[in-house]
């Protein structure tokens, strides 16, 4: 049978990073294709090229034997390709029907009754339940998703791409959603679903395309494979980075989280009954697919995210009492004399001021020091100069705005500043994301030094190889729940991968 869409040798790179290289893939009608891969393996990039958000550097897309150029979302819609993004593009104050009809050509008068009728027809055909008159801001996430899908169908899409559609759904909602997808498949639609939940892929899909580091590893029939095999393909083998790991010299309990839960603005649990302890002198890795509670975990410890229930206790070195950190603000925590350092994920957003130079950025955390009413600019300048030497920082001078430095150097400034406060707890979220091998290794060295000083280090990472080589213990997060704490010396990537991708309902 002629494929609905054929991708031929598609490549796309961002800067020096090849997000997709030479991917060829057929998308058939009446079939659910799952695209599986770790973070950064290029799944979303590939789908964005199909839906017109990116344009491939090389290779082409064929539809019914003809080469088509998809240069904008509009082109994709005209070709009958509908993409359901992870973040819904809907207008909150409009009703479902209004959102669905938005931007479509037609008579000047908006015939609401006719639109509503058509929406209900589509809904009945595939088994959606929807109230076309309901406004988006009154809807739950799964209802919003329904609106997005109907919007695509209303526009006559016959090829649907869904980016992690179940990430935000409860298990029950997911089941209902799968039935709808099956109905659409049986109706002859081509469905592409990005996912990294293995159970889902096994249950729902007809074919699986596994991506790793931008390359298509394999395209197989789902019935011919197992979750185990897929995990192996997904994580693959990579060259060992040889990170030097010292034996942990444990220094006693430093931080203890007990039954910590947090909810977000949609009232879903982003951290769910999470308990763990961390000792001085160890690196605790946190593994998990991003968006499973890592950010909230960092922020709840540092006092940036509101705690719903549970306690967070800090045990200062050399004394035997505990300090309760639950619900304290970052300033209160600092006033308690606790040296907590946080290297946030969003370096230039939360970590540093992009327009400011190194001296200014180093001052941010210490401008309240000293007795003079004038800020002391001299000592941060010395600090900056020292840092340049020690960390092999490359910058024209200490007065260059950090925005103009390279990613690796920016991160060195940030990590250097956080470390300079002699922390007892250091939280680093994806500190090596986007960094080249050398800069990454400088960061690993710094983290190791801190561990050697007896600091309790929490390292949020995405590269499982690094986690396994750098950390002493690894906490696996999934859906904001702890799936287990493993000894990094005696575990495998496959074990981690399975824990990470386990459906919460099956545990």
């Amino acid at each position: 049978m002629e494929p609905a869409l054929r991708l031929v040798n598609i490549s796309k790179s961002f800067g020096d990073v090849a997000a997709n290289s030479n991917i060829s893939l057929d998308i058939n009608r009446g079939e659910i294709l799952a695209v599986l891969g770790e973070n950064g393996s290029g799944k979303t990039t590939l789908m964005n090229m199909v839906s017109g958000i990116y344009y491939p550097d090389s290779g082409h897309i064929e539809m019914a034997g003809n080469v088509v150029a998809i240069r904008s979302p509009r082109d994709a819609i005209d070709l009958g390709i509908g993409m359901i993004h992870q973040h819904y593009k809907l207008i909150e104050v409009f009703t479902a029907a209004e959102n669905i009809a938005l931007g479509l050509p037609g008579k000047l008068k908006l015939d609401r009754a006719a639109i509503v009728k058509q929406v209900i027809e589509i809904a009945e055909k595939y088994g959606f339940s929807i109230d076309p008159h309901k406004r988006i801001y009154e809807m739950s996430i799964s209802e919003k998703q329904t609106v997005e899908i109907i919007k695509a169908l209303y526009r006559g899409s016959s090829i649907l791409t869904l980016d992690e559609p179940t990430a935000v759904l409860t298990p029950q909602e997911s089941q209902r959603f799968f039935n709808i997808l099956r109905n659409m498949r049986n109706d002859g639609k081509a469905i592409v679903m990005i996912s990294h939940k293995l159970n889902e892929v096994m249950e729902l899909s007809d074919k699986v395309a596994v991506l790793r580091k931008g390359m298509l590893v394999d395209l197989i029939q789902t019935k011919d494979t197992t979750a185990q095999k897929l995990t192996q393909m997904m994580v693959g083998r990579t060259i060992s980075l040889n990170i030097n790991r010292m034996e942990a010299k444990l220094q006693g309990l430093r931080l203890k989280l007990d039954a910590v839960s947090c909810i977000d603005e949609n009232n879903t649990f982003v951290l769910d009954n999470l308990s763990f302890s961390i000792f001085g002198g160890e690196i605790l890795g946190v593994a998990g697919i991003s968006g499973n509670g890592q950010r909230e975990l960092c922020e709840v410890i540092t006092g940036l995210y509101p705690l719903k229930t549970g306690t967070i206790e800090y045990f200062p070195p050399d004394v035997s009492y505990a300090v309760n950190l639950s619900g304290k603000t970052p300033l209160q925590i600092r006033r308690l004399g606790i040296a907590m350092a946080f290297v946030p994920e969003d370096r230039l957003g939360m970590g540093l001021l992009a327009q400011m130079d190194m001296v200014g950025n180093l001052m941010l955390k210490r401008y309240k020091n000293g007795r003079s009413i004038f800020a002391d600019r001299r000592s941060p300048r010395y600090m900056a100069e020292n840092m340049i030497d020690e960390l092999e920082l490359v910058t024209p001078n200490v007065y260059t705005p950090v925005r103009q430095l390279s990613g690796g150097n920016i991160q060195k400034v940030l990590v250097g500043r956080e470390i300079s406060s002699n922390p007892t707890v250091l939280i680093a979220a994806y500190p090596t994301r986007g960094l080249d091998i050398n800069s990454s290794h400088t960061i690993y060295r710094l983290l190791n030094e801190q561990k050697d000083h007896g600091t309790a280090v929490i390292f949020i990472g995405e590269d499982l190889d690094v986690l396994l080589e750098l950390c002493d213990r690894i906490l696996v997060l999934s859906d904001g729940k702890a799936k287990g704490i493993l000894d990094a010396r005696n575990t495998t990537k496959e074990e981690l991968g399975l824990l990470m991708t386990q459906e919460s309902s099956t545990v």
Binding site: R74, I77, K89, I91, V93, G103
Partner: protein, 309 residues
């Protein structure tokens, strides 16, 4: 004032907060005045209909020109909307006063439109206004008043029931969503801003042609005197609803002429505070209410870059 409010509602629904209403009203006022003044000078037998039409067209285009400048700055060049709007206010005020003075001086110190134009703008609806009781209250105003009411009902229908109106509101709420749905965001913003600006200009024309003190049709220095700002407040007061704008402007009008009718024994300056106090009260109530139906368009005041997803 209703015109300016309607114009600003249209502009704000596209996500552009144009603080230049005051300036646009000045521009419209002088544009319209000059238009009919010169028409009367050059025409031997000026007709009431044509002079009114010319005044309207001139007022609309002059103010629309001002709004175009604002549009180029904020939509094309993505300049800060507040600053651009304030600049337009100052520019328009000076523009109006400058040409107003030029007109006066060139006419020997005092320039007024002839009686034909005056009548065109100050006559009620002929026979109906002579009806007992209701005639004076309902039909004695000039045609601009009735046109404004019709216009606000039309605008209300447009925003609520037309496809284009839906698209326009989408642009104001979330340009990224609108863009993804294939709507030309810039085009909608420009059109809304320019047409809205033109309406503000007609509001200015009304003031200059029909001053309540009986000297209509003549340029009075600083004649708009803050009414543009009240219009901006009125948009909030009526919660971006054109139909409600009719009641809102009557209410605000009542508040601003209150001192003439209800003596409270306080100074005139205090009376002038009332419209603004009412605006603050409304803002408080609106922001306390839970519902999101009546609030400002979501991306009001924010420039849209497609690349910034």
């Amino acid at each position: 004032m209703l015109y300016a409010t309607l114009g600003e509602i249209l502009t704000e629904k596209s996500g552009n907060l144009n603080l230049g209403v005051e300036g646009l009203m000045f521009m419209g006022a002088i544009g319209g005045l000059l238009g009919s003044y010169y028409y009367e000078l050059t025409s031997l037998s000026p007709s009431a209909f044509i002079t009114a039409l010319i005044a309207l067209l001139c007022a609309f285009t002059t103010a629309a020109f001002g709004a175009t400048l604002y549009g180029i700055l904020t939509i094309g060049l993505r300049a800060n909307q507040n600053v651009s709007g304030l600049a337009l206010s100052i520019f328009g005020t000076a523009f109006g006063n400058f040409f107003g003075e030029v007109l006066s001086i060139s006419a020997g110190g005092y320039a007024a439109v002839g009686n034909v134009t005056k009548n065109a703008f100050n006559k009620g609806i002929g026979v109906l206004s002579e009806l007992p009781y209701v005639g004076k209250i309902l039909f004695s105003y000039n045609f601009l008043v009735y046109l404004a009411i019709l216009l606000s009902l039309a605008l209300a229908w447009f925003l609520k029931y037309s496809r284009t109106g839906l698209n326009l509101r989408a642009v104001g709420e979330s340009p990224a969503t609108a863009d993804a749905a294939g709507i030309n965001v810039s085009k909608y913003k420009y059109l809304a801003t320019i047409i809205g600006g033109g309406l503000c200009g007609i509001g200015g024309l009304y003031i200059v042609m029909n001053s309540s003190n009986g000297v209509g049709g003549v340029w009075v220095h600083n004649c708009i005197s803050g009414q543009g700002w009240i219009a901006v407040a009125l948009v909030i007061f009526v919660t971006w609803n054109p139909a409600r704008a009719i009641l809102g402007s009557i209410g605000f009008g009542a508040l601003s002429v209150m001192r003439l009718y209800i003596p409270l024994g306080i100074s005139a300056q205090l009376y002038e505070l009332f419209p603004y106090l009412a605006t603050i009260a409304v803002l408080l109530v609106v922001s306390m209410k839970k519902g999101r139906k009546n609030t400002a368009p979501n991306s009001l005041g924010i420039a849209y870059y497609r690349e910034e997803r």
